[in-house]
């Protein structure tokens, strides 16, 4: 596809957009993984949320 004399600018603009969108997606996914892992660890230690009833904690 011939992008004309300013091809470099068009390509760079699209590349920047891709980088930013990819960054957002990676952030959301990585954040979720990190939080899911933290929740699993806390669950394993027996801490329950208030809505799940009384909490027992292993020392």
């Amino acid at each position: 596809m011939d992008l004309g004399p300013h091809a470099a600018f068009i390509v760079t603009a699209y590349a920047a957009a891709i980088v930013i969108v990819a960054g957002l997606i990676v952030w959301v996914i990585a954040d979720r993984r990190h939080l899911a892992r933290a929740l699993d660890e806390l669950d394993a230690q027996g801490i329950a949320r208030r809505s799940q009833g009384a909490s027992k904690e292993k020392p």
Partner: protein
Amino acid sequence: MPVIDYANPSRFVALADRVLPWLMGATLLAFALGIWSAYLAPDDYQQGATVKIMFIHVPAAWLGTFGWVLMSAAALGTLVWRHPLADVAAKAAAPIGAAFTLMCLVTGSLWGRPMWGTYWVWDARLTSVLVLFIMYLGVIALWRTIEEPARAAKVVAVLTLVGAINIPIIKFSVDWWNTLHQPASVLRLGGSTIHPTILLPLITALVAFTLLFLTLHLAAMRNEIMRRRVRTMLMMQADARA
């Protein structure tokens, strides 16, 4: 500290788990359509192929301002109705809106260099979008600085509503000050001034990017709810040990 009832957010997370796959699918479909139509779109008789930058610059600008409008609505939800999900919605939207505002500035700058001869000019619209970006960063900084989420939400809500004055300034700046950035050509009285062969890909791109925003926002809201659960559980753990 007021005890937060998690029943509502739990229902929300369940809803998000069901809705997100569909949203993701719709987003991918819309982008496939958008990319294909952008590829086929003709060159502008004045700007040549660089008009294709418009298909990412305009959606980015739209989402940057939409993000702040969303945060303002959430701010009202926090201050007026004390809705717990409003806090979560506001916090999740800030980084996403900031990223799209940055995309608007970068793509606009790269479009401006071949078209206007300069990467930057201090005209009304560019300046007010830059100010919007700085305000986004201020909001994010404020979220991170106040530790307790419920308190942070209320303070950020005030800042968001005060900063909302910038949104009409951005929209109408090209009408009030006739400087360099081109005037409104899509949403204006009398209909759009863009030819359909370029308008249709643009609208497809707008839809695709908006679906992307909503997907990211929903996922980020789910993350934020998880983050607050983790925080509460850590505090309970610390309490139990004390």
